[in-house]
């Protein structure tokens, strides 16, 4: 059985067909041969018996008239009858009347005078038949007829040979038919196996098997194709996931690397200005330090403090952007004025940095439209980042900025410098977080690597796009465009409302609401040299109480205070004393928070750390 199991399907089908065919044919042939043999013998016997009867009937006449010669003449007629080899006529007294034997069989048969003494040689091949001579119920004697059965045996043998030849012929036909028929069953299976092998070798699940007929094999094909489709789909999904996972992994590794780099860099960036601040602060405390160096030390401390402040602002901005907490509030914005303010600001910054070899230009065409609907706060932030970036990476040359083009769809700004430039390989990476064009081993410039990432995000929040053209060693040009949404009004006042405060000739009563004593001391030192009376409230409740007993011109209101916070205190004070000008001083630099303080009733705000110039400007400007 194991050996049959190892035969191919083709061989099994051929073997099955041949087995059934040959088995059936052999059984049928044996049956037919048996039937034919019996039938032939029966026919032979009946024929010989009939011959005996006919001859017996023929000899009635001669025997009646005792005509032996005529009787013998009749017996001689067996010459013309096949198989009969001898015949004898016996009378009623069982005495031989006459007989006739074919010459070639005379040695085999001897008819005695008595019927019972007849001897026959080779009994196996000679058979006796008896015919009674009867007419009109009168018995005249008996005919004994002997026939040779060799001929019918030869006939049966010939028939058997014919059958064998027939079986052989049918066997060949059956084999040929089996060869053809097996293809119908085995070929589709072989095709299926071939496709399976191809799939296994090439791992190609897009292959399919096709069949036009409708049978069980077609159902198998369809099921196989469905399975392949499912595997292909699964593989495709898996490949997509793998690609996504690989990308995510690469990104995560990159992010991890960047974060590690960021932390290292940030630690350095934080510690470097902190080192200057603490170091020079310590020197100022030493008695040996000459008084003439105080100012330069303090300028270094101030510069380092500003550096730290910018760093903190950047970190806070990127955190808010990633948390989705940046709010965009579009309003009519005078872009020319905004650019001019930036020019003034950066000329001041350039001066502070002593970057005298850098020329700063604003290319501002005042003839073109000046009002667009956008977020001025974020637009300013974008331009400041780009200008700050240009100032950082430019040692000699010039920095120019302005509006490059205004179309119906968009306004395009640019900031170009003659700085160190960026290689083409680094251009696609420059807007990523924590990317810096320098590396740890070749550090040239400070910064957290967040400025351009923040800038790009802000541009996108304004529905714009930013791009860069740069050549290493020659300079860079950053361009960004924002939608040109037409403003209805022609002119507005600045978003930060300029307020007219008290006359500087009048001594002002100022209340400082601040829970931190150092902050109070700083403000006190900042203001006492002016013509002011200063009071201190350590929380919102004290501020309210002091307002009830004393008149104040200004309140510098901290927001986060114990007992009663700045919001609530402002509301209460403004409800009672609406003429008191309240300037919020807060470390919450977010736009939402600043709007919140204005909603609470504050007339203006200033963000910590408080810039002295700004504060004085707000208090003593017109």
């Amino acid at each position: 059985m194991q050996r049959i199991g190892n035969i191919s399907i083709k061989g099994k089908i051929i073997l099955l067909i041949l087995s059934v065919t040959y088995g059936t044919m052999i059984l049928w042939s044996v049956f037919v041969l048996f039937q034919h043999s019996n039938e032939t013998k029966k026919t032979f016997n009946q024929s010989m018996q009939m011959n005996a009867k006919i001859i017996a009937d023929y000899v009635v006449g001669p025997i009646s008239f005792n005509d032996t010669i005529e009787t013998k003449n009749i017996l001689k007629r067996i010459n013309s009858i096949p198989s009969i080899i001898g015949i004898a006529a016996y009378g009623t007294n069982k005495q031989l009347i006459t007989n006739y034997i074919l010459n070639e069989h005379k040695p085999n048969i001897t008819y005695s005078y008595n019927i019972e003494k007849t001897t026959i040689e080779d009994q196996a091949n000679i058979k006796s038949f008896v015919g009674e001579i009867v007419y009109d119920n009168i018995h005249y004697g008996t005919i004994i007829l002997h026939a040779n059965t060799t001929e019918i045996q030869d006939q049966i043998q010939n028939y058997a040979k014919t059958l064998l030849f027939f079986i052989f012929l049918l066997g060949i036909l059956a084999y040929l038919a089996a060869l053809y028929m097996q293809k119908i069953i085995s070929k589709p299976i072989q095709d299926l196996a071939s496709v399976s092998r191809q799939i296994s070798e090439n791992n190609d699940f897009s292959l399919r098997v096709h069949r036009s007929t409708q049978d069980e094999i077609t159902e198998l094909y369809n099921a196989f194709n469905n399975m392949l489709a499912q595997i292909e789909s699964r593989d495709r999904i898996r490949t997509e996931y793998e690609i996504q996972l690989t990308k995510a992994k690469t990104k995560a590794e990159e992010a991890d690397k960047l974060k590690t780099s960021f932390l290292t860099n940030m630690s350095h960036e934080l510690r470097t200005p902190m080192n200057a601040i603490l170091g020079f602060s310590s020197l100022l405390l030493e008695e040996e330090t000459p008084c003439g160096q105080y100012k330069s030390f303090i300028e270094i401390i101030n510069e380092s403090g500003n550096t730290l402040l910018n760093l903190v602002d950047d970190i806070l901005d990127i955190s808010k952007i990633e948390a989705g907490q940046i709010d965009i509030k579009k309003e009519d914005t005078n872009i020319h004025r905004l650019l001019e303010e930036l020019l003034l600001s950066f000329n001041e910054i350039k001066h502070q940095k002593k970057a005298g070899e850098i020329a700063l230009f604003l290319e501002n065409n005042r003839n073109c439209k000046n009002l667009i609907l956008t977020d001025p706060y974020r637009l300013r932030q974008i331009l400041m980042n780009l200008l700050g970036n240009a100032l950082k990476f430019t040692d000699v040359g010039n920095i120019s900025f302005g509006i490059e083009s205004i179309t119906k769809q968009k306004v395009t700004f640019y900031v170009t410098d003659t700085g160190i430039g960026i290689s083409s390989e680094q251009i696609p990476l420059i807007f990523e977080r924590f990317r810096k064009i320098d590396n740890e081993k070749n550090r040239l410039f400070r910064g957290a690597g967040l400025g351009l990432a923040i800038t790009k995000k802000l541009v996108e929040l304004l529905d714009g796009e930013i791009w860069l053209e740069s050549q290493l060693g020659i300079g860079s040009t950053f361009r960004f465009s924002i939608p040109n949404v037409i403003s209805d009004s022609k002119e507005i006042t600045n978003n930060l409302v300029k307020r007219s405060f008290a006359d500087t000739t009048k001594r002002l009563n100022i209340l400082i609401a601040e829970d931190e004593s150092n902050n109070y001391k700083y403000l006190y030192q900042l203001l006492f040299k002016y013509n002011v009376n200063i009071s201190w409230a350590k929380n919102g409740q004290e501020a309210i109480n002091l307002c009830n007993i004393k008149d104040f011109d200004f309140i510098l209101m901290d927001i986060k205070m114990p007992i009663v916070d700045g919001y609530k205190a402002t509301k209460i004070i403004k409800a009672t004393f609406p003429t008191i000008k309240i300037i919020a001083q807060t470390a919450y630099a977010g736009k939402t928070e600043l709007e919140k303080v204005l909603e609470a009733g504050c007339d203006d705000y200033i963000v910590k750390p408080i810039n002295p110039n700004k504060l004085i400007s707000k208090l003593f400007s017109n």
Binding site: V60, G61, P62, S64, F65, N66, D67, T68, I69, E70, K72, G91, N93, Q95, L96, I97, T98, Y135, D136, I138
Partner: protein
């Protein structure tokens, strides 16, 4: 030689039971008795089979002796010797030994179921149905088939088969010699 011996033996067996020497008359009686076996007469109500012999007393005696106890067609056999044919009691078998008036006898039995037998040469040509004669020392017989047909007698083929000659064959063939 062997066949002659057999024939001799057979002839002996054909002799009457009393073992009389073989003679022509006895053979004729035996032949006549065989003739009656192969001839069928029309049905009648008679219980008697009448054999009439004309002119041959020797044959009459032999016939008397043979048919005293032997019936024909299951009928009692009566052998008579008379030269006249009784119209009211016609015989079934008429043996004509006297040929002088044979034409008269033929006329009287013409178209009647009477088997006529003679034992003289050329009697069949004159109208006798069966004629016995010696040929090459053997008793043989000839048959007038037309006369048999006219008499309404049925003659078995075996009798025709054994006849040496058939005179006036019904199928208009020439007389056959065996």
């Amino acid at each position: 030689m062997f066949l002659i011996a057999i024939c001799t033996f057979l002839t002996i067996t054909m002799l009457p039971d009393n073992n009389n020497p073989i003679d022509e008359t006895s053979l004729k009686v035996a032949y006549i008795e065989r003739f009656t076996r192969f001839v069928e007469w029309p049905q009648d109500s008679s219980n008697e089979f009448i054999i009439q012999i004309i002119g041959d007393t020797e044959l009459y005696d032999a016939m008397q002796a043979k048919f005293k106890t032997h019936s024909i067609k299951n009928k009692k056999t009566s052998v008579i010797n008379s030269s006249e044919i009784d119209e009211n009691n016609l015989p079934q078998l008429l043996i004509i030994g006297n040929i002088n008036k044979i034409e008269n006898y033929i006329l009287k039995t013409a178209n009647k179921p009477i088997l006529t037998i003679s034992n003289e040469t050329s009697m069949c040509e004159k109208g006798v149905m069966i004629n016995l004669f010696i040929h090459e020392k053997r008793l043989r017989f000839e048959v007038n088939e037309q006369a048999l047909r006219n008499s309404k007698l049925y003659v078995n083929y075996r009798l025709m088969q054994m006849a040496m000659r058939i005179i006036y064959p019904v199928n208009n063939q020439n007389a056959t010699n065996r």
